[in-house]
Symmetry: C2
Subunit: 326 residues, 2 copies
């Protein structure tokens, strides 16, 4: 039997990345193209096909050697229908039949999945979670992305809203407003954006002293990276922001331990630059927040695949539907 | 092929209920015996066997007509090992090998599951959820029990702590203490116990007027049932307690919509006596708290099996392992 290869395509607001992955989840080659969503969805669909073709070529393969394709995109979406609906990061796309189009062009089994779910499946298959039975991935960036994997089940939900854990409410009496417009969401506390917002708030009283003041006036303003760096230098205000962030993430992790109770909670995204000391802070809070057994046994670690997780996980989705048929 | 029958046994702190269930989830007969946990775990195991024997006899069957047994117990437990560990409701039991004992006595495939998970599986198989693909059940009583079913998967977790959603944190800045000793858990807001506690707090300032005052001095004190009854009569204070409870339950439901995104959220337990008006209040809050698609599409309803859900779901667990082998 020939070795099966899979194509994974991870479509983002700015770029899309397509890669070839072998049956063990190892990437052979990948290409990145600009998404240019503003050029419209017809262009977008053709760009996706182009990325897939270039990835196959750059791996030195031809289409006949590919067993299946997986495509991951940001929401909103209808996963079973293979449709992108009205994604805020891909304007002006609307009701784009991604899966059917890709299937028609390449005539291969084609899977479709949410990008955060795909990233979790990638880490599960070939990254941090390769030796566990279940995991929850939090991806910390502008927002808080999440994916949940239990065995070979990607928890995509009945209405394509599974694992929208960034929008789980963790505060009801005095909630922060979230980017989604609602109140008290985890994302309003634990995203990189929230780290910056909370630092700016803490700096707003005039008497407050912190090295962070110097960063507020630089081009682009304060970043979460600045805050973690300055905290590491011992700045009290920055230190407090980092500690609070670890607490909020521990609340998110605990809520998943008391819902999914996975083998492993994985943190990915830009905040990983904060290093092991940050992870240790999260673990310390989890020990106080969670029941003793999951608090002790759940592995809490960083992601390993970086921004390859999306296309590797998309390929894993393609492989999953291929396996069901073979 | 003969019709398979299954025994389900639901062990509680006060009583245990064993029943015979057919292949469609319909109960044929059931018996209830006192648990008498204080008499020790050897006695408890023999009482379980007795309940199973009596249930079989009362259905007019014999052991040869039974295909599998399922046993559900309260936590703490190690589900894969078939062990009750150190359950607060079954003192002084400790490290009780329930599954192996039942298996040895009856020589039948025997499943073991958490009681709240079993109740959810019962509602899924033969109750409110019989026509859906996934559900989350909240059982409202002294605590907030929860079970999560996705397809044929009972989300029991990697460390037997799946669906402990009563201990999901919904408040971090000014949290109530939970019966578990931790802070800000859903159960501290939405259990029947919390309904009473919040009413007593609201009544503590002397000037506050409410019909509920009359109930505080009755034998056993105020109950959640009193509060719902008096609210229905238009008492403002009681009305506020009920409205807050609906909000807290809507937060719990929303957090599950943004994690599991099930077809259906089911509420069971004593609070069902509050009727459809209470469910309507929960639905109204969900519309404001959740994303539009799950808010619109997720069915929110009451449980249908009452306290038969546990043994029917336990039987479903037995049937599940029987099916895997046949």
């Amino acid at each position: 039997m020939k070795t099966p290869y899979f194509v994974g395509l991870d479509v983002g607001g700015t770029t899309m990345k397509a890669g070839i992955v072998d049956d063990q989840g190892q990437p052979l080659a990948s290409v990145t193209l600009p998404t240019e969503a503003h050029r419209g969805q017809e262009f977008g669909l053709e760009r996706m096909c182009e990325a897939i073709r270039q990835a196959i070529a750059s791996a030195g393969l031809n289409l006949k050697q590919i067993s299946a394709i997986g495509v991951a995109t940001p929401g909103t979406m209808d996963i079973p229908a293979g449709l992108i609906l009205d994604p805020p990061n891909l304007k002006p796309w609307r009701n784009v039949p991604v899966r059917d189009h890709i299937h028609k062009v390449f005539k291969l089994p084609t899977a479709f999945q949410n990008d955060a779910n795909a990233a979790a499946f990638g880490e599960f298959w070939a990254g941090a979670g390769r030796d566990v039975n279940s995991l929850v991935l939090f991806t910390l960036g502008t927002g808080v992305g999440c994916g949940i994997i239990i065995g070979d089940l990607v928890v995509q939900g009945q209405h394509s809203h599974g694992a929208e854990v960034g929008h789980m409410k963790i505060e009801i009496s005095n909630p922060r407003q979230c980017g989604c417009g609602r109140w008290g969401c985890l994302e309003a506390y634990a995203s990189a954006t929230s780290v910056v917002n909370r630092a700016n708030e803490a700096l707003s009283p005039k008497g407050v002293k912190s090295k962070l003041r110097a960063y507020q006036n630089k081009e682009g303003g304060l970043t979460s990276r600045d805050i973690f760096d300055v905290a590491a230098e011992g700045d009290k205000l920055a230190e407090k922001i980092v500690e609070d962030t670890a607490f909020y993430l521990a609340v998110g992790a605990t809520n998943m331990m008391h819902t999914i109770d996975p083998d492993m909670i994985v943190f990915g995204g830009g905040m990983m630059a904060a290093g092991d000391a940050f992870l240790e802070r999260i673990r310390k809070h989890v020990k106080e927040l969670a029941f003793p057994v999951p608090a002790e046994k759940t592995i809490i670690c960083y992601a390993q695949l970086g921004n390859d997780a999306g296309f590797i996980g998309a390929a894993a989705c393609g492989r999953q539907i291929f396996s069901r048929r073979n």
